[in-house]
Symmetry: C2
Subunit: 352 residues, 2 copies
């Protein structure tokens, strides 16, 4: 099974109002509640695709109970560790034009609760084919929490996908996840921020040994001259400059410890930098819809591909089609399966 | 004990943010949760004053459980009827300037649940000295729900205070509450709205009999020439016109069935129209603060005065001082006791 970790899940509330009027009072016409958190979205997408999945993480209080109940309602298996603090809510107020978001702070996690989680996580690894680690860390979880989990998974021979940002990403990379999936903004922020914390905790550069170069998937034949057309975006000067910057950024991130990096760039697609080569994939069309959750659908595809050792070009195409299918679905964590099937054969992937 | 009825309570959430940016994403810096609903505020104020009180109404789901837990935390005795629907939340987003409110719709109440509540309410009347009925009706409760409760209370000899608006107020008045407390806007809206529903359900004008004229409090001597100065607001032309309109409005409300009407007008004070005369009370100073809950503090004072048969001028002064003490407290349902003690002797009440 694919295990998805969500250390800072939420109860996501969506309020529909006619129009947002600052300092006004609004009668909410409809309230939607769903289990929130990036790893929960990843799992919900995988579950919809028929993949065996288990969600874990930290949940507390009545709001945590509600998240558990909602997950059970959609049939996603869950094994969370209970904490004394209360799971947070997020409120998205949707009006005719757009949404306005309010994110509660996460609950404080005690050292004992974190220790209990790492024990619990270790126990889940025996049945895990891949682990996806997604989202922010709640207060109290050590900033290198993802590094701890990645090392536990590596020791158990379970590959990992890391999708987080900021210091949690920086520290997580030092443990050598098999795959990191920052978006372009997260990657730029990581590289532009002052990094005293990294200097203090950065691991030695990963040795270029047979072991670290050995990808968990076979190197596809002929990836140097892929049959996919080079997308127009990479041909013009600005596109080349942006792509060059992305490659450089991703290379630095690789140098921090990830075995492979997939950088997502919204409707511009994905860039993969791996030990077997670099590829760029572009969606065949722009879709209108809700981009929230597209990155989580991408991680779902990447986790499945990591498990199945899918060749990179195919994996990138799958991740792009699944991300687009998430944009086409109105709720994060859902996909429009027709869009997925329609776009999958049309995605363009080329050597970068 | 004073029983307060809240048929549509809420879990009130207050989110602090730096500044509200429409269509932006906000990290909430602090989250405050409190039991919400006008009758709960009335009870919390009475409890703070040391008065025996019991809150009742309809609560459902985990959000209802949370409201129960928060009430227990502040020590307010509660006896709610459980419903299958989920109690609503309200979210107030406070920034540096003001607050923006989002009110979820109330849960749908079934006919069986409403019948169970009226039974439960009937059972509480044996121990009740006064009943305060506050706030909106959730979907499913008959629009004349307050009229039903007022008649049950009257049959048990328990006086009632009604504080609601719109159709719930219009229908409630027909059952002859001992006291109605609309604010000026609610009263105007009631009188300006088309009223086919009233025509259909309006009871015959209350007979001017000895029984209906017999107030539950003694008529104070010398109320025709009260020692309180006539406030300046009523002396100028606009003030006189506004006061005339308020008196006219309140008279109509009286004609609809209430034995007495107290109209609240924010910082301008209170107008009482009763079988014993009319009085106007004005706060001695304007207070900066949070006006939410001031009306509920006013009802708390009126309910206590109804129980104690406090003479009207004293009762009006008490209600004004307690309302001001609520404005001076940052949270609805709380009062600043120093403000209450300081203002009480300074409130001006005069015959209107």
């Amino acid at each position: 099974m694919i295990v998805t970790v969500t250390l800072n899940p939420a109860l996501d509330l969506t309020y529909q109002v006619d129009a947002l009027v600052p300092h006004g009072t609004h009668r909410v016409t409809t309230v939607a509640e769903r289990p929130g958190g990036k790893g929960l979205n990843v799992a919900t997408v995988l579950h919809a695709l028929g993949e065996p999945v288990l969600v874990t993480g930290l949940l507390g209080g009545p709001t945590g109970d509600r998240v558990t109940g909602l997950l059970a309602g959609v049939g996603v298996p869950a094994a969370f560790v209970a904490i004394a603090g209360e799971t947070r809510r997020t409120v998205a107020v949707a009006d005719r034009d757009d949404a306005t978001g309010f994110w509660e702070p996460g609950p404080r996690v005690t050292a004992g609760e974190w220790a209990a989680f790492t024990d619990h996580f270790g126990g889940l690894l025996a049945g895990a084919s891949v682990v996806a680690l997604s989202g922010s860390l709640p207060p109290g979880v050590p900033i290198d929490g993802y590094a701890t989990l990645i090392r536990l998974a590596a020791a158990a021979g379970v590959p990992t996908v890391l999708d987080t940002s900021g210091e949690a990403l920086r520290h997580g990379l030092t443990a050598g996840p098999d795959l990191a999936k920052p978006n372009a903004a997260e990657l730029s922020a990581l590289l532009e921020a002052p990094r005293p914390a990294l200097a203090a905790t950065r691991s030695a550069p990963r040795p270029v040994s047979a072991e670290t170069r050995e990808a968990p998937w076979p190197v596809p034949a002929g990836t140097g001259d892929a049959p996919w057309p080079v997308p127009a975006e990479t041909r013009d000067a600005a596109g080349v400059a942006a792509a060059g910057r992305e490659v450089a950024d991703a290379t630095v991130a690789l140098g921090h410890g990830a075995r492979a990096v997939v950088v997502s760039h919204g409707p511009l697609g994905l860039l993969a930098l791996t030990g077997q080569g670099a590829w760029r994939g572009v969606p065949p069309e722009r879709l209108a819809g809700n981009p929230t959750g597209a990155g989580d659908a991408c991680v779902a595809a990447l986790a499945r591909g990591l498990r199945d050792r899918t060749p990179w070009p195919h994996l990138l195409a799958d991740a792009i089609a699944l991300s687009a299918a998430a944009v086409a679905a109105p709720l994060a964590g859902r996909i429009d399966e027709d869009t997925y099937r329609r776009l999958l054969p049309a995605v363009r992937v080329s050597a970068a």
